[in-house]
């Protein structure tokens, strides 16, 4: 894991003191809300429905037990005893008091954490593959590059007032576990014929009211030129992205309007210039960072076998545990989606327990996933049963990874001032309707994603089944979308037809999955069936 040196620590500490002054100026009346708003947003502080909300960055979703324990401490001391893990691998606190925020940030800084650029029209937290460093299919660990990008993007002088927010994702495997092509810039590390590492650059993806899958802009950027190439991508956007209409200000609209070819041409021209400026750190800096992401001291002698005699344990292993590149080890996902629970929420006690378990069983490492779950990336197979027992005792062993109850949901109208409809109660109803784990497993991989408004924080466009909450004459109404995917086979869902009320949408989902069961061929996922038969049989079942 990356460890701050004196420079990193000083920068974060300085930011805390700067924000402390900004908050003091606001509380003293020297700043109006209009003036303060952009300043607080640059530091992840929103004013939501019930209170201020603070979003804390978890860079590329990686953290250690000490950091996780601090997140629990913040939840208990300054909030109401829980936190919400987000689809951008961050954590949000819903009940923060403005006057406490400088102290919270000061506490976070003691464990090398911050809220820098978790909001605002700037480069946001860099996201990555939650299995980085553990997955067998990666060409390299993407996180050192994500860390380089984190540093480069922090207080970037030219790109702090972009037309709109800007999200970058870095992965290094063909299987896309991070919705890479739904980012403003998606980077896939890869190798060329000569075996050298480079980056495929996708630009202009995103969700929101105009969802787009990012087109490939350059298939191979030599890795030492990555930052200057990204700098060129951003400069073209900063200069020519639309600023006349907030809904058309994301880079996806620019690329859609001028075309990927013209955007590529402009970036190439800019890059030819930018490359000469010496903006890219030397390889020695990459090596310094990469050394901190060296694989942990795996035990080569640990057995590669598993005792599956406990059926509940075996079920959890089958669903939530994935193969590790190191024999004898496994990747365990902790579901934050218990039936009837709030997707992504965890209590201070659960957060602390996960910190303990990471220290005990996973080389002190945890990951946050964009699907709002937690991963212990390096668990000895011999320890899995003990881990499962500890999780089960705390209500953290729901064996539903990638099943219909593993729902991504935005906070919705229960918390968010932008929302038009509630998302969480719907997630709870759906999970309850499909609570039988046998039924869920029969339905197989089924990614259900709910957004409470068109901003699409709940990734509904990318759900195999997506739900969009809207306000229909003052009442909540839910539209159903089918066929989206945020994975390597990225696609955007299609709306089936007229929307439903809360109970109606749950019934519509039931008819949808029963249609799938009736027409699927052996081994076919819901998404595959949908792609094969199209939307019509589903529409017929839902509305017919």
């Amino acid at each position: 894991m990356y460890k701050y040196d004196q420079y990193d620590q000083t920068i974060v500490d300085t930011r805390v003191e700067e924000f402390r002054e900004q908050v003091a100026r606001r509380l003293a009346g020297e700043l109006s809300e209009d003036q303060f708003k952009p300043l607080r947003l640059m530091n992840g502080l929103y004013l939501q429905l019930h209170a201020y909300m603070l979003r804390v960055a978890i860079p590329y979703g990686t953290l250690d037990g000490r950091q996780m324990r601090m997140l629990a401490h913040i939840a208990r001391t300054y909030d109401k005893g829980y936190g919400h893990f987000t689809t951008r691998q961050n954590i949000q606190y819903n009940w923060i008091e403005l006057k406490d925020t400088p102290d919270i940030l000061a506490e976070l800084a003691t464990v090398e954490m911050h809220a820098i650029q978790t909001s605002g029209n700037c480069i946001r937290n860099i996201s990555s593959d939650q299995f980085a460093g553990a997955a067998a299919d990666e060409v390299t660990d993407p996180r050192p590059w994500a860390e380089l990008l984190r540093q480069w993007s922090t207080f970037h002088p030219e790109f702090s007032y972009l037309p709109r927010k800007f999200k970058i994702c870095v992965i290094a495997a063909d299987e896309d576990r991070a919705a890479m092509r739904l980012h403003d810039i998606g980077i896939q590390l890869t190798t060329n014929a000569a075996g050298e590492i480079g980056a495929a650059i996708y630009v202009g993806g995103g969700m929101g009211r105009t969802p787009m899958i990012a087109p490939l802009i350059k298939d191979f950027v030599p890795i030492d030129d990555l930052l200057s190439y990204v700098e060129a991508c951003l400069r073209v956007y900063n200069r020519y992205g639309r600023r006349d209409n907030i809904y058309k200000a994301r880079i996806k609209i620019l690329i859609h309007e001028i075309g990927a070819d013209e955007y590529r041409r402009q970036v190439e021209e800019e890059w030819a210039h930018v490359k000469t400026l010496g903006l890219d750190p030397p390889r020695a800096e990459f090596d310094r960072i990469a050394a901190m992401f060296a694989p942990p001291a795996f035990d080569a002698a640990t057995p590669d076998t598993l005792d599956r005699s406990d059926p509940d344990f075996a079920l959890w292993v089958d669903q939530n545990v994935k193969p590790h590149k190191q024999p004898g080890y496994a990747i365990a996902t902790i579901s934050l989606k218990p039936v009837g629970g709030i997707p992504g929420d965890a209590t201070a006690e659960q957060i602390e327990l996960m910190a303990d378990l990471a220290e005990r069983y996973s080389f002190d490492e945890l990951r946050v996933t964009h699907a709002q779950n937690i991963v212990l990336p390096h668990v000895r197979k011999a320890d899995l049963h003990a881990l499962w027992q500890a999780l089960d005792a705390a209500g953290l062993a729901t064996p539903n990874l990638d099943l219909i109850s593993d729902i991504i949901a935005c906070p919705g109208l229960d918390y968010c001032s932008l929302a038009n409809a509630r998302s969480i109660p719907l997630a709870q109803k759906i999970a309850t309707r499909f609570s039988s784990i046998e039924r869920q497993r029969d339905l197989g991989e089924l990614k259900l994603k709910i957004s409470g408004c068109i901003n699409a924080c709940g990734h509904h466009h990318a759900g195999h089944i997506g739900i969009l909450g809207v306000d229909r004459k003052g009442t909540e109404n839910y539209q159903l979308l089918l066929g989206g995917s945020g994975a390597e086979d990225a696609s955007l869902g299609k709306i089936t037809g007229p929307g439903f009320d809360e109970d109606g949408i749950v019934d519509a989902i039931e008819r949808t999955v029963e249609t799938y069961r009736a027409v699927r061929t052996h081994g076919e996922r819901f998404l595959d069936t949908y792609r094969r038969v199209g939307i019509e049989p589903f529409k017929e079942a839902i509305y017919g």
């Binding site: 952009p38 300043l39 200069r239 030397p282």
Partner: protein, 141 residues
């Protein structure tokens, strides 16, 4: 020019800045004003005869001027580069990094607050137009 903040040793430029169109249409102006939607690269052939380039910030959210400034500095422009408009104290340090060396904010800024903002961060992560050494270079100095 009561509200001019200036970080240069030479004498302030007296001649009023002309519009980009007017500048490109005549040969003797030495000061030009660049609107936020105008292309800074149009000035690149003429940098050696310019003493002042004023870049407009019609709203603090409009960040195009940051790119304009860097483009001009990257091309070697050494004259005065002025940010004019909705320039806020919390932006001055970023603007300095992009190469601005004078400021005419719409609303006057507290000089002490400006000084504090400019001196706040000892270290920077990126190489930009202000010549500061990024931490990656300090680490491997």
């Amino acid at each position: 020019m009561d509200d001019l903040l200036r970080y240069r040793d030479d004498a302030p430029h007296e001649e009023p800045a002309v519009t980009l169109d007017a500048f490109l249409g005549q040969t003797n102006a030495t000061a030009v004003r660049l609107e936020s939607d105008e292309d800074a690269r149009a000035l690149l052939p003429h940098l050696d005869r310019l003493s002042l380039i004023e870049v407009s910030f019609p709203a603090f959210r409009d960040g195009r001027g940051y790119s304009s400034a860097r483009i001009l500095r990257e091309a070697g422009y050494a004259g005065e580069l002025r940010a004019q408009g909705d320039v806020l104290v919390d932006q001055i340090a970023l603007m300095r990094r992009c190469g601005f060396d004078s400021f005419v904010p719409d609303k006057p800024l507290d000089p002490a607050a400006v000084e504090r903002a400019l001196g706040r961060y000892d270290a920077v992560y990126q190489k930009a137009a202000d010549g500061r050494t990024p931490v990656w270079a300090l680490r491997h100095g």
